[in-house]
């Protein structure tokens, strides 16, 4: 038997999922080790081996590949613990990253202190050189100014350097020359250029992304080297892939080079799982709804594909790489219910976190969290949380709601119910904003609920939005790690093509994409020997507009004459879909040519559908409060439900790691592929 293993490092737990050649999936969990995440990874693998009845070395000897989601880059940004970075930049333009296009967060907080830039001004070193947008050299690279900058780099002992010159999207020869000189003078220093990271027009986006890359690059490189070392010590020398912000995977070496591309590695696995489930018959239009301890991640899957965007900010820093368009809300199981400054009941964004955690954890928390509400209302079993690994203190949680409600004139149960309801409302509003941004109606989508706590809120959230269908996978708690195993190698490329006279002619279009294609295929071929396919897209706009929209070109016939017209038509159609109108008489401008190069990994075997046996009966009844009414709910064991078995709400379906609350009118049916399919009443 051979195995493939997905590893997702979260704030509290490291989830390890393995899929065997026969399709059987096994989940293991270990505590995360924030100081060095690779320690928790190997611990998790050991737990997994034990569950499979194998020695760790034997398991790893039979492992074909490991796919990893890491939060090392994200944490370095959030905690400001990245490398000491310097920037070489075009003379006269050294403040681009600190000007932030004139924008400041928190409109009415004028006392908010100015945020320091990732690279301080004294390390933003001007170099005399200048290229124009048409590629002509206005001023050659001045070696004297470059040498002076390099002398400063040496004196300052920087760990990383970002070379960021204006119009390098058009011609990066100056950037390459400067980077070579830095590498020669400072061996061992991490060097990145803006055109290498994001060869696209718009200096703030490109420079900021390059600086983030330099800031997290050394740390991510060191971490991945440590991980490699630990795995090797444990007996594994096979391929290790990292899931990137765009939802595809790449070898560790590529993840180290483009470290800024790992900023959304954590939540990307869940979206990848959504895409994989869409392929397995869940439906083509999904909203992924991943409820964790401190936050909820929401993403859209349309026509079976995850929506991508480039406006991402992580810890206040702009990363303009192609990333999954994930909306993160500060509302999760640990979000605290409190009376806000205005005097109304509020939930979040403050969170009890892992420590002290909700009041019910008995670790010193005093303010009630959403999890406490779910416990008090009877939705969670105090004796069987995480399979009994943690006993929950219901009385303590109830007392905390009593205290909170006292200031509002509410009793404890009504307060707990209020916190649960408000959490539902906030989650539903988050989905509304995420869908309106994409111009779609959530009622046409299926809500895919996962993460430990989503099942308790999914049915109510779906009702709030008028959604008719919810799906909860049996592996809801480890779905991100599972998802990583079901995504392909991916390399995203872009080239800016600014011109003054509309969309280029057929010959130019062919040449642009042929160049991307040969370069991209060569890179992915260096990663593995399998089948490679490509997808074309473009960023386009009307002449006078400021923002481009992403136009998929996969469906455009590429070879026949008249390509310019077909590309232009694809833009008009896309504009009309997004914004309800098209202006067909207007000039259309092509700004960026894009190519996604995809290396197909061999598909995973689907598990053999379990035989439809006798329907499982509820193993218990539990007193629960729904809409102020106390009632006895039947409790089913999620793992014991047989394919096609139906469960009518109100009811609870639970496993060691997740609980699903079905409301009156809901009909749930266990699907043979491993998810509970709920028709919302």
């Amino acid at each position: 038997m051979t195995y493939r293993i997905g590893v997702d490092v979260g704030g509290t737990f490291t989830d390890v999922v393995c899929v065997a050649a026969d399709g059987v999936t096994t989940l293991a969990k270990a505590s995360s080790t924030p100081a060095d995440q690779s320690e928790g990874v190997v611990n998790g693998l050991a737990v997994l081996a034990e569950r499979l009845g194998l020695a760790l070395r034997d398991l790893l000897a039979r492992t074909e590949r490991i796919v990893h989601g890491t939060t090392v880059a994200t944490n370095a940004l959030l905690e400001r613990k990245g490398a000491k970075v310097a920037m070489l930049t075009t003379e006269g333009h050294r403040d681009v990253i600190e000007m932030r296009e004139g924008l400041k967060p928190e409109r009415y907080d004028l006392r908010l202190p100015a945020a320091p830039a990732l690279v301080p001004r004294r390390l933003r070193l001007p170099v005399a050189e200048r290229i124009r947008p048409d590629g002509t050299v206005e001023a050659a690279l001045d070696r004297a100014s470059l040498d002076a900058a390099i002398a400063t780099l040496k004196a300052e002992n920087v760990e990383a350097v970002a070379v960021c010159f204006l119009h390098a999207w058009r011609d990066d020869s100056h950037e390459r020359e400067a980077a070579e000189a830095v590498r020669a003078a400072l061996p061992g220093v991490f060097v990145t250029t803006s055109a290498e990271v994001l060869p696209q027009i718009k200096e703030f986006e490109r420079f900021s992304t390059a600086c983030v890359n330099a800031y997290v690059g050394p740390i991510v490189s060191r971490y991945l080297a440590r991980l490699r070392g630990r795995l090797s010590d444990a007996g594994y020398n096979g391929p290790v892939f990292v899931i990137l912000s765009h939802g595809g995977v790449a070898p560790v070496e590529e993840a180290a080079r483009l470290a800024a591309g790992t900023a959304l590695s954590g939540p990307a696995g869940g979206v990848a799982a959504g895409v994989a489930l869409a392929e397995r018959g869940l439906g083509q239009d999904l909203i992924t709804f991943d409820v964790g301890g401190t936050s909820t991640d929401i993403a859209l899957i349309q026509d079976g594909e995850a929506a991508l965007g480039r406006g991402r900010t992580v810890a206040g820093e702009r990363i303009a790489l192609e990333s999954l368009d994930i909306v993160t809300l500060g509302a999760g199981g640990g979000s605290i219910g409190h009376v806000g400054a205005s005097g109304t009941l509020q939930v979040g964004p403050r969170s009890a976190g892992a420590v002290p955690g909700p009041v019910a954890y008995g670790q010193g928390g005093t303010e009630p969290a959403v999890t406490d509400a779910n416990l008090v209302l009877g939705y969670l079993d105090p004796d069987n949380f995480l399979g009994g690994a943690r006993k929950l203190d219901r009385d303590g949680a109830l007392a905390a709601f009593g205290r909170l409600g006292g200031t509002l004139g509410l009793d404890a149960m009504a307060t707990a119910e209020g916190v649960h309801r408000l959490a539902n409302i906030r989650m539903a509003d988050g989905i509304r904003v995420a869908t309106v941004r994409r111009g779609v109606d959530p009622r046409d989508f299926t809500l895919l609920a996962f993460g430990g706590a989503a099942g308790l809120h999914a049915s109510a959230v779906a009702r709030e939005l008028g959604m008719r269908r919810v799906a909860v996978p049996v592996f809801a708690a480890g779905l991100s790690a599972w998802g990583m195993l079901h995504t392909d190698l991916r390399y995203e490329m872009a080239r800016s093509e600014i011109n003054t006279g509309g969309v280029p002619d057929d010959t130019t279009l062919h040449a642009i994409w042929a160049g991307l294609e040969s370069e991209g295929r060569a890179r992915v071929a260096s990663w593995f020997g399998g089948e490679v396919e490509t997808k074309r897209a473009a960023d386009m706009r009307y002449g006078e507009q400021v923002f481009e929209i992403a136009v998929p070109l996969e469906a455009v016939e590429w070879e026949a004459p008249g390509l310019t017209g077909r590309v232009t038509d694809a833009f008009h159609a896309r504009h009309e879909t997004l914004f309800t109108y098209a202006l067909r008489e207007e000039e259309v401008v092509l700004v960026n040519a894009r190519l996604a190069v995809i290396g197909r990994l061999p598909p995973m075997a689907a598990p053999e559908a379990a035989a439809a046996g006798a329907a499982a009966s509820p193993f218990a009844t539990r007193q629960a409060w729904i809409d102020g009414v106390e009632q006895d709910l039947p409790v089913f064991d999620f793992g014991a439900l047989t394919p096609m078995q139906q469960v009518a709400g109100p009811a609870i379906v639970e496993s060691d790691t997740t609980t699903v609350l079905l409301l009156a009118g809901d009909t749930a049916r266990m699907n043979g592929q491993g998810w509970l399919d709920v028709t919302v009443g």
Partner: protein, 547 residues
């Protein structure tokens, strides 16, 4: 009318905030012009049946207190004849508007046969007719030279705008296609708000919803009063000056006497200078909004910006002054000037009551628009608006100010475009665009820095520029011993080697290829005495080359 239970109250409070946010997203996605989809110069509000502001999306602070005047003007004009499905439009600053380029769409939301809410969308349009391209006409001495006036009109019924009226409006502008597109986006966003509010009413009923609205407003009022109550009582004067009116008069004063007693504030602007002949006069809704904006900046950021939070504030002004001009005076510049000066005068006075909450002055606005032609695009002219080289934000008790974050009225909410994109699209060469060292006002916490721009014109022939702004003589004010920031200084460095200072209110400046525009923007004002500044911070500024 009994208040709903606390949970329902919180649910509705969250819903109203989410609705304005969703309307804002819809507007951003559907607007056609750059000023809306890039610079976000629009605002969204929900008012209740009595024209009280209930919720507002945080976009442009100077819009915050002005929207209810628009709804009030519709109620005054149409009263009982308002029916379900109506669409109202206005822009006239003497009938509920702020200045002519800001069009406001108002849609009633009916339940139980009466309007329970108004869904409101205000947006700045790229052109509204008048004497100059782009609405800012420094030569105007009457509002009629500033563009098309629209008192409240019934634009449509049955949720459909009358095509002939829309045609009439857009025909009176230089950019009919853009104005039409943006107007349609506004109506769409207002209808989205209506739809969402109807579902709230459907679920909770008109009576419970109205009770919740009243309770939400009372809670905000109590929140604001609690904060104001913690400040020192007293009466203080604050003063701020405009450079000039463009017609020869200098040092135009905005004077605020602010009396804070218990949990109320009275702002008396009576002593402000008489109205001026040019576009710096402030319409009454804009004046009220500038005062409210100033006080909102001093409250906690999380205080809900609604009718309740503004109840503790009373505003007094005298007709015929620059802050309450007589009908017919031009006002187009007012959302920046004299809004910024009104705000600064109020903050200066209240700095005595709540020193730790006051902040150094934010920058003043100084616009330039250049019209010319490009050899790469024969036969087409271009218009370029200066948004680069922004001024700095003020320092405060919490730290130094934000550099290049802009003016009081936008407070870090207006984005400037990419230099690379500007060079690719326009015949302009940006030799330098950096912080301007020495521009910040010194203080215990200094202001942010303004920007510096050296931009060379590479047109294929002569071009022409207009300016509109203020702040070359007065920089952003220092607060509580902090120093004023450097004012703006714009020069035109000619290709022939000569140079001259640009004035803030000039029309038809001839430009030639090779001319360079040298913009040195003012910084933000400092907070607290400079001698108390941490020497380490000063050393860091020196090392960073900011002094």
């Amino acid at each position: 009318m009994t208040a709903p239970d606390p949970v329902t109250l919180s649910v509705l409070d969250n819903r109203f905030r989410a609705i304005v946010e969703e309307m804002g997203e819809a507007m951003l996605r559907t607007a056609y012009s750059q000023i809306l989809n890039s610079s976000r110069d629009f605002s969204i509000a929900i008012c209740d049946g009595q024209a009280r502001l209930l919720a507002q999306a945080d976009h442009i602070p100077i819009h915050v207190g002005a929207m209810p005047f628009a709804v009030k003007a519709v109620l005054d004009a149409f009263g009982d004849s308002i029916v379900d499905g109506d669409i109202y439009l206005l822009n006239d600053p003497y009938h509920g508007g702020s200045h002519l380029p800001d069009l406001t769409i108002i849609v009633p939301v009916f339940a139980d046969g009466r309007p329970i809410f108004y869904s409101v969308v205000r947006a700045h349009h790229t052109d509204i007719g008048g004497g100059t391209h782009g609405a800012y006409n420094p030569a105007a001495t009457e509002i009629f030279q500033e563009g098309l006036r629209l008192p409240p009109i019934l634009l449509g019924q049955g949720r459909v705008a009358r095509a002939d009226l829309v045609r009439m409006i857009v025909t009176n502008t230089r950019l009919p296609r853009e104005v039409r597109g943006d107007l349609m986006a506004m109506i769409g966003a207002a209808h989205l708000g209506e739809k969402r509010l109807l579902s709230v009413l459907d679920k909770h009923g008109a009576t419970e919803t109205e009770a919740a609205v009243a309770a939400i407003l009372s809670l905000s009022e109590a929140h604001a009063r609690r904060i104001i109550g913690s400040w020192k009582d007293g009466s203080w004067k604050g003063e701020a000056f405009l450079d000039d009116d463009g017609f020869g008069r200098q040092d135009i004063a905005i004077r605020a006497t602010v009396t804070k007693q218990s949990d109320s504030i009275v702002v008396d602007l009576t002593e402000s200078d008489p109205q001026v002949p040019s576009f710096l006069n402030s319409s009454w809704p804009n004046t009220a909004s500038a005062v409210r904006m100033a006080i909102a900046f001093l409250l906690d950021p999380e205080v809900a910006k609604n009718d309740g939070c503004f109840r503790p504030i009373e505003i007094i002004a005298k007709e015929g002054t620059i802050v309450l001009p007589r009908d017919g005076a031009p006002v187009t510049m007012c959302t920046s000037h004299c809004s910024n000066e009104i705000c600064e005068a109020v903050v200066k006075a209240l700095a005595n009551a709540c020193p730790d909450r006051a902040m150094g002055g934010w920058g003043r606005r100084y616009r330039i628009a250049i019209k010319g032609s490009d050899a790469r695009r024969p036969g087409r002219s271009f218009v370029w608006h200066l948004f680069h080289a922004r001024p700095g934000g003020g320092g405060s008790s919490q730290g130094d100010g934000w550099s290049t974050a802009g003016e009081w009225h936008s407070a870090g909410g207006l984005k400037f475009g990419s230099v690379e994109m500007a060079e690719a699209r326009f015949p302009l060469f940006f030799a330098k665009h950096e912080f301007r060292p020495g521009s910040a006002g010194d203080g215990t916490f200094r202001g942010g820095l303004g920007g510096e721009l050296l931009m060379r014109l590479e047109t294929d022939g002569p071009a022409v520029a207009n300016t509109a702004g203020d702040g070359v003589r007065y920089g952003a004010a220092g607060m509580l011993g902090g120093e004023d920031a450097a004012p703006h200084h714009y020069t035109l460095d000619r290709a022939d080697g000569t140079s001259r200072d640009l004035k803030t209110k000039e029309v038809g400046i001839p430009l030639a290829p090779g001319d360079t525009l040298h913009v040195r923007a003012g910084g933000g004002g400092g907070w607290g005495p400079p001698e108390k500044r941490d020497p380490a911070a000063r050393a860091r500024d020196a090392e960073e080359g900011l002094l």
